[in-house]
């Protein structure tokens, strides 16, 4: 777990007005770790290979 993540999480939830239990927090941190692991591949992408282009999801993809 990232250092300080638990304290950060508590602060974020407090700011949002959401009371969390220790059990909530343990599950959230577990899920967050899984998310970090799975999204890490996105950190590795080369922006030049993936130029920004607007997507209109309600239109057919084009080649």
């Amino acid at each position: 777990m990232e250092p300080g993540l638990e304290a950060h999480a508590r602060a974020v939830f407090a700011k949002a007005g959401i009371a969390v239990t220790d059990e909530d927090l343990a599950l959230v941190l577990l899920i967050h770790a899984g998310y970090e692991a799975s999204s890490a591949v996105l950190d590795q992408i080369d922006p030049a290979q993936f130029p920004y282009e607007p997507i209109d999801p309600s239109r057919a993809p084009e080649r």
Binding site: L5, H8, A9, V12, F13, A16, G17, I18, A19, V20, E23, D24, L27, V28, L30, I31, H32, Y35, S38, S39, A40, V41, L42, D43, I45, P47, Q49, F50, P51, Y52, E53, I55, P57, S58, R59, A60, P61, E62, R63
Partner: protein
């Protein structure tokens, strides 16, 4: 005498039209069957006896006149809020777009289909209405999040149902329950009153026991005819990981179906496919966000934690996910210039037990959710239609073949499903699960 819910949706509609079946008697028989058979499945936890009768009394003539259907808890109805598998009224009662489309062709909505809580899972193990089961083995997952729709159709409680699909939620339960499930093109019908209106991925789904029945439901939703010829399709195969990392017997059933259909099959490559799962999950989580505390407090600990975790996620990966999504959309569009459909197993393994939703793949043990989502995300990233077709059984549980088609080409997917049905002698779409025997 045949129970009317043992007839196909197409046969029910035809029998009503010709006067061979009284719509009121069909409704009564359907309500009886739900009461008698749904105990082990919990597919349809809310039944609208009075509202269904009122809907029938006012039903106009149309292709589904007098035919009972269920609808997922993601659609608001005039007499009931959408709850999205939670205990809360989240979308107020209204005539949602899907409701209007069904009503206008004479359909009768007889109940709410159970679903995975908040649409955030592919197993059906979590729901405010309780877990729901698979008609082939009730202690196994029906899939999700539209599990109640697929289970009810598979168990012959109703012959058609409307679900939704933000990350495989129609195609996955269709595969698990051995029915046809069609995810329609993104925004192909009015989204008002539908939970999916707030995402860039979600699309309604049509369920039937075979392609003809799914077509009837889809034609109602899309308000257009869906006829095509799929006798000479060019089929693209994305070998790795969809075929290489699925259970061997599932792959064999899918390969058999493709061979039986007699189509031209060739390997294709989708660029950046390895990034598709991360792109969809990152974007989907950002779009789902975190609801207010009053909603969080009503959820199971797992779903609550999933939603809370969205508050911790940085924004930068969302921008990267969008770049990846754009590239994948281009690549899929390019592949579909050269082939008519792309095919792979709808799910890499058959339905696991509800109390242990884990599957074993060649790459190792993994959660059913992760495995299922990997096979589902392309259709949601691109918005294109996809279908799951029953193609056999493994250890007594159904396997499904997925076809992804071009934008707006639902008709071709349904015709392709029909081609597989004919080529396999209707063996799998006519199979009757033990709960319905």
């Amino acid at each position: 005498m045949t129970h009317p819910q043992d007839l196909s949706l197409t046969a029910q509609a035809e029998a009503i039209r010709t006067g061979d079946l009284d719509a009121s008697e069909l409704l009564d028989a359907t309500l009886d069957r739900l009461r008698e058979r749904d105990g082990a499945l919990n597919s349809t936890p809310v039944v609208f006896e009075d509202d269904a009768r009122r809907m029938l009394d006012a039903a106009p003539p149309g292709p589904l006149h007098g035919v009972p259907l269920t609808i997922k808890d993601m659609y608001a109805l005039p007499w009931r809020a959408a709850r999205n598998g939670t205990p809360l009224d989240l979308f107020p009662p209204t005539e949602s777009g899907a409701y209007r489309r069904l009503r206008d062709v004479g359909a009768v909505i007889v109940g709410v289909a159970n679903q995975h809580e908040a649409g955030m899972g592919t197993t059906g193990a979590l729901s405010a209405y309780g877990a729901h089961g698979n008609p082939w083995q009730p202690d196994h997952c029906p899939g999700g999040s539209s599990g109640g729709s697929a289970a009810a159709v598979g168990a012959r409680l109703v012959a058609g149902s409307v679900g939704s699909d933000s990350g495989g939620s129609t195609r996955i339960p269709a595969a698990y329950c051995g029915v046809v499930g069609l995810k329609v093109t993104y925004r192909a019908l009015p989204y008002d009153g539908y939970f999916g209106m707030n995402t860039t991925f979600s699309a309604p789904g049509a369920f039937g026991r075979d392609a003809a029945d799914a077509r009837l439901v889809a034609e109602a939703l899309l308000a257009r005819q869906l006829r095509a010829n799929a006798s000479e399709l060019r089929v693209g195969i994305v070998r790795d990981p969809f075929w290489t990392d699925s259970q061997r017997d599932v792959v064999a059933r899918c390969e058999h179906a493709l061979a039986a259909a007699g189509w031209m099959v060739r390997d294709v490559i989708i660029d950046h496919l390895e990034l598709a799962g991360a792109a969809l999950m990152t974007r989907l989580a950002a779009e789902a966000g975190c609801p207010p505390a009053v909603v969080l407090d009503a959820l199971s600990p797992t779903t609550r934690a999933l939603m809370l975790s969205s508050l911790l996620r940085p924004a930068a990966p969302v921008a990267r996910a969008d770049r990846v999504r754009a590239a994948i959309r281009r690549s899929v569009a390019g592949v579909l210039d050269d082939v008519d459909v792309i095919a792979w197993p709808s799910v890499p393994a058959v339905a696991p037990r509800l109390d242990h939703p884990v599957v074993e793949l060649p790459s190792g043990l993994t959660s059913a959710d992760m495995a299922n989502m990997r096979h589902a995300v392309l259709g949601n990233l691109t918005g294109q239609p996809g279908i799951s077709i029953p193609v056999g059984f493994v250890d007594g549980l159904p396997a499904g073949l997925q076809l992804l088609g071009r934008w707006g080409e639902e008709a071709l997917l349904l015709a392709a499903a029909e081609q597989v049905e004919v080529a396999t002698g209707r063996e799998f779409v006519d199979a009757v699960p033990p709960v319905a025997s």
